[in-house]
């Protein structure tokens, strides 16, 4: 069994190498047979890796504890779903998942474009399979998922296996890693098309149009993965946070930032033929940051709470990154003359410039996060002392950046291409600004002025929400009058006519909701108390009374549970029951927090422990205002992204805007 698995990986490796060599030679010698046979090699790589993955999953599910990977990541008592997820629970398996996903994406990309871009496709295949080869080297020769325990060789069965960390036995953790992988791996495809386009000196934006869907879908996967991680941290870890600027979290954020910048700046290229070099840099940067993130998470270069162990694969990543980045840079520099901008920046107050500022501050944020994450490595290299920076550093720089981006989210879409007149600006922004100022004035009166960033954030959220609402209102009421339908069907019709624009507004709205949620963190309250049954304590306007403390035991863990009656003023809010468990197999305690989720604020109770004399329970109570809006924002963002993927009914919006004329008129017709 394990031999077949290892053999499949080895064969897949050979075929991936063949696909790289075959498609390059086939292209250079103009040999269509070689090109097609290389494309078939891609499908075979996929088939072989599917076999390998299926065998690994089978071994995990049936508990073949002779295998090192199975023994290290599952145990006999685990539910089947967690045995399955052990596929990506450890280093070797998750690399296999990476390789399999990349093979799947490659097969789809090659298949859907098999009759198109005959010029460019061999290069695309070569880039995809070169990346695949790299990952297959890792699992074929360095860290095989099919290794057999030495103890298992003489039929000595290791026993039960060591199981999965109980903290990770939670539903979002089941899908969080594959979502992030789908997002990371997926960016290889736009990168491969970009490179193919550069190598063959394609004149147009074919690669952008072809990969638009890939980019959007993989961006959605990345966003989903990041948000699931946040949701898990909030609901499981017991400190109520969702982001700690840990290196591993940062590793997932970096490519998301550049991907977001790329999604915006490609519009400049599609509509104006500007920023061509920049887009190449962004798509390559995102791809390499995805690889870099994988490297950071696994190599132990930067210490982190959830990094995998030190492993021998770090240096392979360094080689791959060094060669890849050098080759990409050389290629871009060599082809710069084919990437000439077709238009010039005409005014600082224009759509073009708002895109540029959007990119500038996204990249600044990316750079700051990267710098902060690698600070220990850099400082050790320069001064010999290992120095780290933590959350306050990241917040200090990213909070103003976030607010700047939020402002651009409101301003950018309404400002005209080329240049904007004062009159048109006044018309577009008078009501949104008024609404924002009014909200800020009211909030200031109620005491928010003590948190200037929060006040600004709420004001900007109002501003952006008002501009988006106005856009829908304007369009929908025109349709409603013209076709005699209600406002809601009219809004749907409007969205359907230009899904890309109005879907984009929905995504922006999702971001606004998330900002509302993040801003709520400025008003968090917490208290830690030692209590006995019958005792009470207070937090904000809430009163908590401990009514009971129970304990018990089952096969998997022992538990202690508190029953706490929460009330606000005279009205009871019901019983909350935070719990503490001690898992026997792993000898690890966990907290099961109790959360009362509401739109205005969450009440969050954590049973943190028992005092040393075993008499009193230590309870941490938190109030987290507005945190639910983060999760709501995610759903709005996801729906908006999906809307963007629906083909538009009316195709007028993506012609190049070469027409001269009144700026405002322009802004109404096109995006």
């Amino acid at each position: 069994m394990e031999n077949i698995g290892a053999l499949s990986i080895l064969l897949a490796f050979c075929l991936a190498v063949y696909a790289v060599v075959g498609s390059v030679i086939g292209r250079l010698k103009r040999n269509p047979f070689l090109v097609v046979s290389s494309e078939r090699a891609v499908y075979s790589v996929w088939a072989l890796l599917t076999i390998a993955s299926a065998l690994l999953i089978y071994s995990l599910l049936t508990g073949d504890f002779r295998m090192g990977y199975v023994a290290a990541h599952t145990d006999q008592t685990m539910p089947a779903i967690y045995k399955f997820t052990a596929w990506w629970g450890g280093q070797e398996g998750s690399l296999l998942l990476w390789a399999w996903l990349l093979a799947t994406y490659s097969a789809i990309a090659v298949f859907t474009n098999r009759h198109k871009f005959r010029d460019m496709m061999p290069w695309v295949t070569a880039v995809l399979m070169a990346t695949e080869t790299f990952f297959l080297i890792l699992i074929a020769f360095v860290l095989s998922p099919f290794g057999i325990l030495e103890a298992g060789r003489g039929n000595i069965v290791e026993g039960m296996g060591r199981g999965l960390n109980p903290l990770l036995q939670y539903w979002t953790m089941v899908i969080h890693p594959p979502m992030l992988y789908l997002g990371y791996v997926g960016f290889t495809v736009p990168f491969a098309f970009a490179m193919g386009s550069l190598i063959t000196k394609q004149p147009g934006e074919a690669w952008i149009h072809t990969t638009r869907r890939w980019t959007i879908i993989t961006w959605l996967f990345q966003s989903t993965g990041i948000l699931l991680g946040q949701g898990w941290a909030y609901a499981v870890l017991g400190w109520g946070g969702y982001w700690a600027w840990d290196p591993v979290e940062n590793a997932s954020l970096l490519p998301w930032i550049t991907a977001t910048a790329f999604l915006h700046s490609v519009m400049m290229q599609e509509k104006k033929g500007m920023m061509k070099v920049w887009n190449m840099v962004l798509v390559s940067g995102t791809f390499f940051l995805c690889i870099f993130g994988t490297f950071l998470t696994r190599s132990g270069v930067v210490s982190s709470v959830h990094a995998f162990a030190q492993s021998p694969i770090g240096k392979y990543f360094v080689y791959f990154l060094a060669i890849g980045i050098a080759a990409t840079l050389a290629l871009i520099l060599d082809r710069v003359k084919y990437l000439k901008s077709e238009a010039r920046l005409e005014s600082v107050v224009s759509r073009e410039s708002s895109f540029m500022f959007n990119n500038l501050i996204l990249l600044a944020s990316c750079f700051a996060v990267l710098w902060g994450t690698l600070f220990p490595v850099i400082s050790e290299a320069v001064t010999g002392e290992k120095i780290s920076v933590d959350a306050p550093f990241f917040n200090r720089i990213n909070v103003p950046i976030g607010l700047g981006l939020l402002l651009l989210t409101g301003v950018g879409p309404l400002i005209a291409w080329r240049r904007s007149s004062v009159e048109s600006l006044r018309r577009a922004f008078f009501w949104p600004s008024t609404a924002a100022v009014a909200l800020m004035a009211v909030l200031a009166v109620f005491g928010v002025w003590a948190h200037p960033y929060a006040l600004m954030s709420f004001g900007l959220c109002m501003f952006v929400a008002a501009t988006i609402f106005a856009e829908f209102w304007k369009g929908a009421s025109a349709i409603s009058v013209k076709s005699q339908v209600g406002l809601i069907p009219a809004a749907i019709e409007l969205t359907h006519r230009n899904t890309r624009r109005y879907g984009g507004y929905l995504v922006h709205m999702g971001i606004v909701f998330m900002f509302i949620g993040y801003t709520g963190a400025a008003f968090n309250q917490d208290v830690t108390k030692e209590v006995v049954p019958g005792g009470t304590f207070q937090l904000g306007h809430y009163t908590f009374r401990v009514t009971n403390m129970e304990q018990g035991e089952n096969g998997n863990y022992t538990w202690q549970k508190l029953q706490i009656e929460a009330s606000s003023g005279a009205s009871s809010l019901g019983i909350m029951d935070p719990e503490r468990r001690f898992y026997k197999a792993s000898q690890q305690p966990t907290s099961e927090v109790s959360i009362r989720r509401r739109l205005n604020e969450d009440v969050y109770l954590n049973f943190a422990g028992v005092s040393s004399d075993n008499q009193r329970a230590v309870v941490q109570a938190y109030v987290f205002p507005l945190v639910t809006w983060i999760w709501i924002g995610y759903w709005v963002l996801a729906i908006g992204t999906l809307v963007c993927l629906v083909p538009s009914k009316v195709r007028l919006s993506y012609a190049r805007t070469q027409v001269l004329g009144m700026a405002q008129k322009h802004a109404k017709v096109t995006n």
């Binding site: 023994a71 060591r162 162990a309 500038l360 954590n606």
Partner: protein, 147 residues
């Protein structure tokens, strides 16, 4: 060209402000990684600088006392209770201690060394190391399996 000059000026302002924030952030926030031995050799500097100390929890040393938790860290994971290199730590931060924080766990404490020689931590991280790496005797033999 005037447009580009204006644009350039705006870019310079934004980048300048962010760089200023970043540099200020680094100097206010920097934390020095030290081992227990290094902390003990630092002298007075140890009371001033923010430190991040790496070590292992001495079994049985964790004591909860109200909201504060005290424990003892030692340096060499193979020596457990017998390690002569130790550091007393008192944690009084607001965040709850991680569930992975227990006897023998690898622990990182952030804070400053008090004048009484007790380390005042405001953040504790703990890694349940055994969950992430294979035991040494569980060597896998990848090459032979692939034959």
């Amino acid at each position: 060209m005037k447009t580009y000059a204006k644009f350039g000026a705006l870019v310079a302002v934004i980048v300048g402000v962010l760089a200023w924030l970043a540099l200020g952030g680094v100097s206010e926030n920097k934390t020095y990684y030290k081992t227990i031995t290094e902390v003990q050799q630092m002298g007075d500097q140890a009371h001033v600088k923010r430190l991040r100390v790496d070590g292992y929890v001495v079994p049985g040393s964790i004591v909860r006392n109200g909201a504060a938790v005290s424990f003892v860290m030692h340096q060499d994971p193979s020596k457990r209770g017998q390690d002569p290199i130790i550091l007393k730590v008192v944690y009084s931060g607001i965040d709850p201690l991680p569930d992975t924080f227990k006897d023998d766990a690898q622990t990182i404490a952030d804070g400053k060394l008090g004048t009484d020689g007790v380390f005042q931590a405001n953040k504790i991280q703990a890694k349940c190391a055994s969950k992430y790496e294979a035991k040494p005797q569980m060597k896998t033999d990848a090459t032979r399996a692939s034959m």
